[in-house]
Symmetry: C2
Amino acid sequence: MNDVLIYDPTLRDGQHAVRHQLGVDAIRRYAEAADAAGIPVVEVGHGNGLGASSLQVGLAAVGDDEMLSTVREALRHSRMGVFMLPGWGTSTDLRRAIARGADVVRIGVHATETSLAERHLGVLRDAGAEAHCVLMMSHMATPGELAEHAARAVGYGAQAVGIMDSAGWFLPPDVTVRIAAIGSAVDTPVIFHGHDNLGMAVANSVAAAQAGASIIDGCARGFGAGAGNTQLEVLVPVLERSGFSTGIDLYALLDAADLAERELMPAPPVTASMTIVSGLAGVFSGFKHRVVELSARAGVDPRDVFFELGRRQAIAGQEDLIVDVVAELSARTGRVAALQK
Amino acid sequence: MNDVLIYDPTLRDGQHAVRHQLGVDAIRRYAEAADAAGIPVVEVGHGNGLGASSLQVGLAAVGDDEMLSTVREALRHSRMGVFMLPGWGTSTDLRRAIARGADVVRIGVHATETSLAERHLGVLRDAGAEAHCVLMMSHMATPGELAEHAARAVGYGAQAVGIMDSAGWFLPPDVTVRIAAIGSAVDTPVIFHGHDNLGMAVANSVAAAQAGASIIDGCARGFGAGAGNTQLEVLVPVLERSGFSTGIDLYALLDAADLAERELMPAPPVTASMTIVSGLAGVFSGFKHRVVELSARAGVDPRDVFFELGRRQAIAGQEDLIVDVVAELSARTGRVAALQK
């Protein structure tokens, strides 16, 4: 059996589903439960990572330092992970996190923007933490581009590198070709992080493992924005049945997931229509509220807006594009004119 | 592109999730929405099919005749389907359903009990309805056995034959080998009906289509017991992206799913821990309430009970086995004795 290392961002990526409002007690209890299940890495933080808590993207209920201290104390065997987006967090945030006991630090960049991670990966190499680099919105890059950028990240010092299916667009064959391309370009472990917009997160993760990925992400009950992340307590037994070894205790894992459902979330994620559309369009589902709101005001179909945003390859930070697309579709359909009569 | 015929049991299999309490208005509105989306077959009925409404398994809110008349009136293009389990329904029920406009009639039998369908398939052949035969709990039979029983069903008059993953146990390779075996044994269309206990319902359905199945089941928002059925409005675009043609309008399908979420269910299905366990154990998730209740009383772990029921190949109708297993596990662990002190 091949070993797969399970990486659990429930307490970080899951935060998006509750606007970063997880409290200290809930964080501690989930970390203890994950540790008891033998999950190798437990990631914690604001949904957008170190330093991201702000009025603009949302203030977390608990600051970075306190989140890290809480999880550090809760973990006996598991390692602690953190996530950072260059520009949102800084080298100072990285050093503070490592001082507070972060064992694994992930730098996230857009699929073809690896150069943004260069300086931070260098800082991590010097600071002694395990450095990962993840390429986000990876469906927007070809397998060859991903391989090239993965190799660059390793050149900058990444000790593991891989892809996030940030829009939940992939089907298994898409994952297979990308993971294989990256695997043939680097000697480090390869990472896969899925989202469930098309009901494929677990199947995509198995495809990734079969193509050579050895670090796979999953969140308890799929905790995360929109359709949610790969459901951890489904992923683990399905990987085991598919011939991979995770070293995780199934019953303790199910207990952790039950605790997560009770204490972290109002309800588990649902694959609703707009998240299916954003997945099919290849657009970050975080655009949803704004797309729905502006579309309603202009009398256009928000699904048309998502598909047009997909054609224009909109990425996070380009929310202004929504305004343009809504205005154009509105003019094209003449619905606003009709409404104004 | 190969054509796949989508068969929609939302108004029949979904009923399990609401104890067969769908009302006439909700049934009518969903049938109209499904028809508008171009779904080829809309199935309706008590969760356990024609004639099953009873005190023992649950009285439906609406009788068979009224459900059928309601859907018949609502459909302009879609055909109407019904389901029957021999022993629960009778030839009289079949003839009444056909008189009320059922176009497609499915007879469901345990995977290796095709002979139970012989008489009813004969009745259908004479009555002029399209006859399907589905083999339930199909993970308990080998591909060879399924092929043999599928061929027998065709011999009895079935015009389409296939498998239900009643326990939600399959992973895609399990589906591929079974559908291929059936396909090589019969000349009729082959059916696949999935459940989502292991997060694999859509992936399994794609695997089925790729292995030659041409009738695939899905329910709006996955409406169904436990982890739910294959989510219809995810299944359709994923099949289309995988190279299959369904003829269904995506936006109208999403509208139908939104309506289903609003009007048919208190909340969409969640893949909770006990449904994962029942899937892994290969046991019908309908056992859940009884397993949890008896386990709690005896102080044993309900997950152990499910896995032991799986080893004993428990099937629906064998609920008495739960009592035996709980008693044995309880004696083995000595927990009851401890509790009684």
